[in-house]
């Protein structure tokens, strides 16, 4: 057969003799630092570069980052909202920068309220988003991947949960549990959102597990969890992210809505939804001089939601290996042309988020 291998001359050199390829060991070792650098590059810098390269994602990420920073260090930097810290219903900038967004009916600085409400809102959003994501991904992948009875049972549960009219259920749960902890509130607000994700992920998993590389992994005897984690999850990541964003929006919309309805209890900690409630019941809609009281939280919520959507629209690229390859510093350049346009998957649900 040497004759043939000679003909099969596509291999330019056989530096390593046939048998050795199988036994080859390395002569050098990577330093810890190098390996660390690789990890950082792969998991942090590369996604960052990708996000940065899409305008929508860049703007979205910027907005989200702004809120995160606001939530993290804002409360430390900006004064606390206090009753009677200023005159009542001061218009924005009316007194210079003393009350940049004005004050409310109790003379509290509105910017201060917004800033100090951010951490708990972010916690709520993160809790809701994580809950939905974890539940949805777990149930969806387990159902889709294991099939059979497990699938039927999980699918039925999912379908049922999905059909519960979300808002009324949340209203009842909120009244039932009277959550004060933002994390608990976040969970309640997304109590049935995960089902939609689970259903979607299940069908994605079904189609992904038809890919032959999944079968190849099975043939290699890899364990099911590792197949799910390595072969299936990366494919549904864009979807997961989008759902995370939708869940986050659901949290924002529903919490504000319920605070507004007065169904959710609130405590001394300020909250955007409570601000809207107080502004509306305080008559901000009636008096032009108090309009800022309502507009400020409205704009805050809208901007965050807007940022989240923009970000999610940009992020399917983050998990797209084609784009990844181009932004990985450790790999050589790639000549793949960029596919244009936003993705279809990134569109948000209809109906204003709450259903």
């Amino acid at each position: 057969m040497s004759e043939r291998s000679e003909r099969t001359g596509t291999e330019p050199l056989h530096a390593i003799d046939d048998g050795d390829a199988f036994e080859a060991v390395s002569e050098t070792t990577l330093t810890r630092k190098e390996r660390y650098q690789r990890l950082v590059d792969r998991w942090l810098l590369a996604p960052g570069r990708i996000v940065w390269s899409v305008r929508r994602a860049r703007i979205g990420a910027g907005i989200i980052l702004l809120y995160v920073i606001l939530g993290l260090i804002g409360p430390a930097l900006y004064k606390e909202p206090r009753t009677n810290q200023g005159p009542r219903s001061v218009a924005p900038l009316a007194e210079g920068l003393a009350y940049p967004l004005g004050t409310d009916n109790l003379g509290r600085d509105i910017l201060a309220q917004i800033v100090h409400a951010t951490p708990s809102m972010l916690q709520m959003i993160a809790a809701g988003g994580l809950f939905v994501t974890v539940m949805g991904v777990t149930v969806g992948t387990v159902a889709g991947y294991s099939g059979g009875r497990t699938d039927r049972v999980l699918s039925l549960v999912t379908d049922i949960v999905m059909t519960i009219p979300g808002l009324p259920l949340i209203v009842i749960l909120a009244a039932l549990l009277e959550p004060q902890n933002p994390i608990v509130t976040g969970l309640i607000l997304t109590v049935n959102v995960w089902a939609g994700l689970a259903r979607e992920i299940r069908s994605q998993v079904l189609s992904i597990s038809r890919h032959s590389y999944v079968e190849a992994s099975q043939a290699m005897g890899l364990s099911t969890p590792s197949i799910i984690v390595k072969d299936i999850l990366p494919n549904i990541m864009p979807y997961v992210l989008i759902t995370f964003v939708n869940a986050a929006r659901q949290v924002i919309f529903a919490s504000v809505g319920l605070y507004f309805l007065g169904v959710l209890p609130y405590d001394s900690v300020v909250n955007w939804g409570v601000m809207i409630d107080q502004a509306v019941s305080g008559g901000a809609m009636h008096v032009a001089s108090m309009a800022h009281w309502l507009i400020a939280p409205l704009a805050t919520i809208t901007l965050l939601s807007f940022g989240l959507i923009l970000f999610s629209q940009g992020t399917d690229r983050m998990f797209n290996p084609r784009v990844r390859a181009r932004h990985a510093s450790t790999t050589g350049s790639d000549d793949e042309s960029t596919e244009a346009g936003g993705s279809a998957a990134a569109t948000a649900g209809t109906g204003g988020g709450i259903r």
Partner: protein, 564 residues
């Protein structure tokens, strides 16, 4: 702006008393869907109480500013030691055309007694009987002073014509446990009031002037309508847009009032009740007088009241906590012989508060108060979520307390849960928003409410007696004061007698010294009338303090239609 500062023009011109009859319609809001209304006040569902005020006549009306009673369905009354004689107006006619007689009043009183009306405290069915066509005599089983008795029948309306209620009364006589009364749901009311039911639709209830009513001469407009309006914002908008001519009673901040058309006037009436902080007297900390007092010193009631009123004057801060209403116009002090002897807990006196807490064994650690056992002085401050003014007040109170190092947390609660469970149920509270009077000016009521009522015992677990030093001398020798006998005595005492005044002073001192509750503010009801088509008297007229000006003033010609 609808300020009452401009005079004549604002109120839409002088009311001479002989305005000509017009075809005008006066429109006011109602929060019950007209289609759903039923007219039995004893039935719990969808009873339209505002419309009820024009269709039915109250037995007597109460002028809150002067504390006097004015005639309603009753033309005259007399409260003696063992009997009260009630005399009906002699021209009173039911909307179905029948004369309203003493029999009708007897029926009303009997039904009320079967329905557990508070006059049952003084009398029973057997003692109520008609003497002649217009007079009813009510035998009293104990001494009752006149204001106390009248207060108890004041909100009673003559609304039980034989046509609708005779059968029900008979059933109650046969079976006092019968639910016939509560189940009765007449779709059309029959009353004796100045307006009678005409029709109701999706959005509106129409009542038309009842020419045979006792008040007919003073009413110069043809219709009184009620428009379904839900929520304050909608109400303000309706008034602003002219779809209603009045709002009965809605708290409205100065900012919002500023958005009303110029022809809208505000009529303020003392509500004689307002927010207080109720302490759980069984609580380890709040059972301590020093802690309560410290809190009283820390909370700056003026700021709270102002915040709660949105910067306006609709909430009057309580001057000196004595358990007597009248902070609105300082009439509270008139009951006191020596107002200065009372502690006023004014301002934000943290020094005094610190002293008090330290004397009770507390110390301040890292800005937080900790008792001798190392427990933090902390509590959840519960308020009903939908009561916005209370929430605003509570936020402010909370702020004051936190600034002083008391670890408080505001908790808004669903109204039902708040009243049903936190106050009157099992969940309880540490400190909660409550009220410190129940709408009456006579000090007996308020003091009784705070020191001796079932609520005092059940809601905030107040004790039946206290150790009380002499008035004005908190450190003096104490004596035990049992509340129940004191009030039993006071109930029957003539309100003008000197000893009555003495007793009131003593009880007010008990209140001031021991602070069963901390009164924060006193509410002023705000009523709005658009004077484009109607004229109304200024709110300095005592009659304007009868509840509600929109329904009472037309009866006496003090809210009249302008000439068309």
């Amino acid at each position: 702006a609808g300020g009452s500062d401009d005079e004549a023009d604002d109120t839409g011109g002088e009311i001479t008393g002989d305005e000509p009859m017009t075809e005008r319609t006066f429109t006011a809001p109602t929060s019950v869907l007209p289609d759903d209304m039923q007219w039995n006040a004893a039935n719990d569902s969808n009873y339209p109480d505002r419309p009820g005020f024009v269709v039915f006549d109250q037995l007597v009306y109460f002028r809150a500013t002067t504390g006097e009673f004015a005639e309603g369905a009753l033309a005259d009354w007399e409260v003696g030691d063992d009997a009260a004689t009630l005399t009906l107006q002699d021209d009173l006619t039911w909307h179905n055309g029948e004369d309203a007689t003493a029999e009708d009043l007897v029926r009303k009183l009997h039904i009320s007694l079967y329905d557990n009306h508070p006059i049952g405290n003084f009398t029973s069915v057997e003692n109520v009987e008609a003497v002649d066509d217009t007079t009813v005599e009510v035998g009293l089983e104990a001494d009752v002073s006149e204001p106390v008795f009248l207060n108890s029948i004041q909100n009673m309306e003559l609304d039980t014509p034989a046509e609708q209620y005779q059968d029900i009364l008979e059933e109650l006589e046969n079976d006092p446990e019968s639910t016939a009364l509560a189940d009765f749901a007449p779709e059309e009311p029959i009353g004796t009031g100045p307006f009678q039911y005409d029709s109701s639709g999706e959005q509106e209830l129409v009542t038309t002037k009842f020419e045979d009513s006792h008040w007919a001469d003073d009413v110069n407009f043809a219709e009184y309508r009620f428009r379904f309006i839900d929520g304050n914002e909608q109400a303000w908008q309706a008034l602003r847009g002219g779809s209603v001519d009045a709002l009965h009673n809605i708290f409205t901040s100065p900012d919002i009032m500023a958005s009303f058309p110029d022809h809208v006037v505000e009529i303020q009436q003392p509500a004689n009740w307002g927010l207080s902080i109720a302490f759980d007297h069984d609580h380890k900390h709040f059972g301590q007088r020093e802690v309560r007092k410290a809190i009283a010193h820390v909370v700056d009631r003026e700021v709270v009241a102002e915040n709660s009123a949105g910067g306006g004057d609709a909430k009057a801060p309580v001057g000196t906590p004595t358990g007597i209403v009248g902070n609105f116009d300082d009439s509270a002090a008139e009951w006191l012989d020596d107002p200065d002897a009372f502690e006023d807990y004014a301002g934000n006196n943290t020094e005094r508060a610190t002293e008090l807490l330290e004397s009770a064994g507390f110390s301040r650690e890292d800005g937080t108060w900790v008792d001798a056992d190392g427990e933090t002085l902390t509590f959840e401050f519960k308020v009903p979520a939908a009561w916005n003014e209370w929430v605003d007040a509570a936020i402010t109170i909370n702020q004051h307390l936190q600034d002083f190092g008391v670890q408080t947390n505001l908790v808004t609660r669903d109204d039902g849960v708040y009243f049903g469970q936190d106050l009157y149920g099992d969940t309880g509270f540490d400190i909660a928003g409550f009220w410190w009077s129940d709408g009456w000016t006579y000090p007996y009521h308020t003091l009784n409410w705070n020191l001796n009522s079932a609520d005092a015992k059940n809601v905030y677990n107040y004790s039946e007696s206290i150790e009380l030093p002499p008035i004005g001398d908190p450190d003096g020798e104490t004596e035990t004061l049992e509340f129940a006998p004191e009030f039993e005595e006071l109930v029957g005492m003539d309100q003008d007698a000197e000893e009555t005044r003495q007793k009131i002073n003593e009880l007010a001192w008990a209140f001031n010294y021991d602070l069963p509750q901390l009164p924060i503010q006193e509410k002023v009801d705000q009523c709005f009338v658009a004077t484009e088509n109607f004229s109304v008297v200024d709110d300095s007229d005592p009659d304007a303090s009868v509840k509600y000006p929109t329904t009472y003033l037309p009866r006496i010609g003090k809210l009249v239609a302008k000439e068309e």
